[in-house]
């Protein structure tokens, strides 16, 4: 009962935050609303005892990805009027996407109902000794070890590609060479000039 009430509370917050993401006038507000979305979905995942996924969602998206997003959005001077221009022109595409997503969700719920899983009933509570994290780790490193490693390799390739794309070597680029900075001696920088004292006039 309490869990269901909490689910509806978090669900309402989630929908409100998601609407705020696309309707907020200020892009910084949009980014912050997206943070809110992630946190509430993590809370909903906690309700179905998927604590590992919930915490990782907050860790990865709220803790790292959205910080960078916010970083960029705050730095950019976004022209809002220009941004709003195509809003209604592409509305049909948005509606179409939303429809597709809704159909998919309904399909999944319906299919799971067909498999004999009561999707409307919520998660079955697990034993207190059951550790979601442990079980996930066990499966990931045994049964799905190769797909897991493959995903890791893909991410690595993506990182390398991103760095390779953005690393430009312009001619005449000034760079710091720390070992040279450290190795500097007084004689390299400082010259003591002997001077006769000025005569008092």
């Amino acid at each position: 009962m309490l869990i269901e009430a909490l689910f509806y509370v978090f669900g309402a917050i989630l929908i409100a935050a998601a609407l705020a993401v696309i309707s907020a006038r200020n892009p910084v507000y949009s980014a912050l609303a997206l943070v809110m979305c992630f946190i509430t979905s993590a809370a909903i995942w906690l309700l179905i005892e998927a604590e590992f996924l919930a915490v990782v969602l907050v860790l990865v998206y709220v803790g790292a990805v959205m910080v960078l997003f916010l970083f960029v959005v705050m730095m950019l001077d976004v022209n809002l009027a220009e941004l709003r221009q195509g809003f209604t022109r592409f509305a049909w595409l948005g509606w179409l996407t939303a429809l597709a997503v809704i159909l998919e969700i309904v399909g999944v719920v319906w299919a799971r109902g067909g498999l004999g899983i009561d999707a409307g009933r919520g998660a079955t509570p697990t034993a207190p000794t059951y550790s979601n994290t442990l079980e996930l780790g066990r499966v990931l490193y045994t049964r799905y070890a190769y797909p897991f490693e493959l995903a890791a390799m893909l991410l690595l390739v993506a990182i390398v590609a991103a760095i390779a794309l953005t690393m430009r070597r312009r001619p005449g680029l000034k760079k710091q060479d720390v070992s040279r900075q450290v190795a500097v001696r007084r004689a390299d920088r400082l010259r003591i000039v002997k001077m006769d004292a000025e005569k008092r006039s």
Partner: protein
């Protein structure tokens, strides 16, 4: 009297006991922050051959004891100035966002063998995610103030925290490998057996990396470029006054205590006694696990924070980035490799029975 109290305490439902502990921890933590600010000023004063604050007495106790409370009172009385062109909503929200993760993290920290608010199994991940959320307060404060200095401070802080979080996470991966659990209570329990079986001995490089990243993560000297007075006035909280400023201060010091506690839990055996299992002295209180040991460890680690502040000059921004990405992260990666070998050959913590 005491017995009836104990029986009513035990007969209380779980949520009631948790609530009581949450209130107790929060209040004690706030008082600790107040005393820590005083201790910092005293210690740095002594290091610089000054006396530190010595005017305000509290109930005629030590001179200076009342200083933090007088400061809080002063800050409470002051006007909270909200800049005209700031984003008023976010400007007010930022100190709260900075404060919440610093306190919420205490939910999973085992304070003594029996006292822990939540025995969460993913406690370590929970801590990582909360410490990574601390940066929001800083960024939002810097942006909402609509001031160049504040914004520069926020940008610096965001980049720094992201960089050091990774090193911190990798260091914790090492702890995870050595203890085989993400539950903080279990992490402490696996370090059982006295001084030398705590994690610091086999994970020494990781301890260094973790503590250094912790100092960077809390924006303390020598990593305090986010509020570097000589360059950007006061950084992200330059526009804050009165109690709003005090909240940032509170969050910073609460985070210091948190990082010290976590270092104690992960690397110094939390509430384990130092001479546990040693013949003779191990049977006395020196070998008994208790909150006292955690407190002592945290106290020593907090002293390091103050000591560093009084000793080191501030890092240059590019040096901070270099240290984070090019020194600390490689160290953790190498040590995780070393740990793999140790684990395969069952050396050190991996020779313990629960890894067989």
């Amino acid at each position: 009297m005491l017995e009836t109290l104990a029986t009513t305490w035990l007969s209380l439902p779980d949520y009631a006991r948790s609530t009581v502990w949450i209130v107790v921890i929060t209040v004690v933590l706030i008082i600790c922050v107040a005393l820590l600010t005083l201790w910092e000023r005293k210690v740095i004063g002594w290091m610089q051959l000054r006396r530190g604050p010595n005017r305000v007495r509290l109930f005629g106790l030590l001179p200076g004891m009342g200083q933090p409370f007088a400061d809080v009172l002063k800050l409470l009385m002051k006007e909270v100035v909200i800049p005209t062109n700031s984003n008023k909503f976010l400007f007010r929200l930022a100190p709260i966002i900075a404060l919440v993760p610093a306190f919420a993290a205490w939910a999973v920290i085992p304070l003594s063998p029996t006292v822990v608010v939540s025995k969460a199994d993913a406690g370590l991940l929970y801590l990582l995610s909360l410490t990574s959320m601390g940066v929001y307060g800083v960024i939002i404060a810097g942006w909402a103030a609509n001031s160049k200095y504040a914004f520069l401070g926020a940008m610096r802080s965001a980049a720094q925290m992201l960089a050091y979080e990774i090193a911190m996470g990798f260091a914790l991966v090492g702890v995870l490998m050595a203890t085989g659990s993400m539950n903080l209570g279990t992490i402490v329990r696996t370090q059982e057996g006295g001084l030398l079986s705590w994690n610091w001995s086999w994970l020494f490089p990781l301890l260094m990396v973790y503590f250094i990243s912790g100092i960077a993560e809390t924006n303390r000297a020598p990593f305090d470029v986010a509020e570097g007075e000589s360059e950007i006035v006061a950084g992200f909280h330059v526009e804050y006054s009165g109690i709003a400023f005090a909240l940032f201060f509170l969050a910073e010091y609460a985070n210091m205590i948190l990082i010290s506690t976590l270092t104690a839990v992960f690397f110094f055996g939390g509430w384990q006694g130092p001479l546990q299992g040693y013949p003779g002295l191990g049977d006395t209180f020196l070998g008994q696990p208790s909150f006292l040991w955690l407190f002592l460890k945290v106290f020593c680690l907090l002293f390091l924070f103050l000591w560093f502040r009084a000793t080191f000059p501030r890092y240059r921004y590019d040096q901070i980035m270099r240290l984070g990405w090019k020194a600390l992260i490689p160290v953790t990666l190498v040590w995780i490799g070393v740990e793999m070998l140790l684990a395969v050959y069952r050396i050190g913590p991996w020779s313990r029975p629960w890894f067989q």
